[in-house]
Amino acid sequence: MASIKMQFEVPAKMKTWSLALIAVGLVALITGLVTKGFSADEHEQTQFWGTLMYNSIFWTLVCNAAMFFIGVTTMAMGGFQQSFRRVPEAISTMVPIFGAITFAVLMYVIFGHKHHIYHWLDTEAVANDPILKGKAGFLNPVFFVIWTTLTIALWSLFGWRIRKLNEQADGEPMTAEEGATFIYKNTVRAATFLVWFGLTVGSTIPWLWMMSIDPHWYSTMYSWYTFASSFVSGMSLIALWVIYLKNKGYLELTTQEHLHDIGKFMFAFSVFWTYLWFSQYMLIWYANIPEETVYFKHRVQGPYKGIFFLNLIINFLCPLIILMKRSAKRNYTLVAFMAVLILFGHWIDFYQMVMGSLSKEHVTLGWLDFGILSLFVGLMIFFVSRALASKPLIPKSHPFLKESIIHQV
């Protein structure tokens, strides 16, 4: 593999850009903190912490979805992802970093007793509310703190274990026995990660972090919906990094065939997201019970109408129509464009999921949201590019690497 570039070097331009984005984000963060975060007005405070919440949760889940991608493809004995597996691995190194930010924000909300965000923090209100009383076993600060800590710590730990194990694939070629042991260990670690992922992203964490903002409302679809949203964004992020590296002349072994499969994931999970979106919407629309329709009232008929339907257009109609053709999924420019669009669409989706419940009267989308977004994007670019540069780009001794090289769709 003499002619193959194994080592990614972070271009100076990329570093400058990411630092500039972080700087813009920090300015927005500090201005927001001064004008809104510490303001006497509860609405301003709620807006500031809500903005931090949905951004940090979104980016943590998206980066964790990259590790989920590695986990499922490992369990499926997949081979095609090996030639670019360092990209999702590098993205998943963000889980501890973004996880720590999410943890800090959520802990501030809990210990700062922000009951305008989590109504169930208000002990007096809970005591007089039979519905909230019934949910108190799940929605209480102690359980919230323990479960959040465990979730973020174990995502980071299990992801780190998978990445650590795969450093072995950079070493000497393995014998058949060594290869079999390596693959077996990989499946065990991936399975551990996936079980924990299912318990958290697949069920409890979205309920706890985001659905409990509307503590009276509930939807069993909510977690799957959040998962679908984060997974399709995670695939888009992987696609963006793969295309960037291809543009820079790296990842010679990754071809249109691999891009086609990533594009299929983006297409399929956009449709899956819509399926869950619709399942949640239609059951509530059909039953028409006030305690359930309360969630959609200000989204479909209130100020969030525009964002709510824009969300559906960006995340369903655009991927459906644009990514359907085979040639579109094999076109680097089009996939890159769609990846940016899908990431933006699901960011907006998370915006309306959180802020739609926190600020029901008016849409708050403005400089603060885009500023905080720029902070997270800058951090993501900065750390992911560093993580990519810290390891060889191609796991040259991975037993399945050949499958990836000859991969054909």
């Binding site: 619709f278 919407y281 239609m282 629309w285 059909y286 028409n288 359907m324 085979r326 054909q408």
Partner: protein
Amino acid sequence: MAKKKFVVGCFEDEAVLFPAVKKVRAAGYKIHDVYTPFAVHGLDHALGLRETSIHTAGFIYGITGTTTALSTISWIFTKDWPLNIGGKPHFALPAWIPIIFELTVLFAAVGMVLTFCYLCQLAPGVKKHHFHPRATDDLFVMAIECTDTTNTDDLQAFLQSNGAIELSVQVAEEGWWFGRYDNENVPFQNKEIVAA
């Protein structure tokens, strides 16, 4: 339906078949088809077959299903027989989407299966010539169409040198026919049979 002369070479391994396909095409022979016991990845590219259009057909069947369902249901529930169902509007789009989706899938699926059968010339009673019975078991069978100038002996030697384990020259119907496998029963008895 004309009968044609074919040189048939049988291969035991994909790894031998692929280079042979390339060499036969490079030598200018026209490969009628390669019959394999299972789907061989990349063989269509090696044979130079064009990309299938069945997905485009599927898309068209799909939107036909969508429009059929949408127009039928909306006509029934808003014009023909409007019913008050739980106080919902007559044009109750969310409730129809599952049905619209099902009809899209049904039209696309059935349409594509029928198109596929048509393209593969599969239908009840349709018969085609089998170049080698083991093509359905464990042999890769390559049939090369002969022209007037083809030297069958040279071609057989060429195939043998490229790893064919069994060779034959067959005069066979290239299309399909209704009836039985003894070609005498072909209802449209053909006059211009090329001598072997």
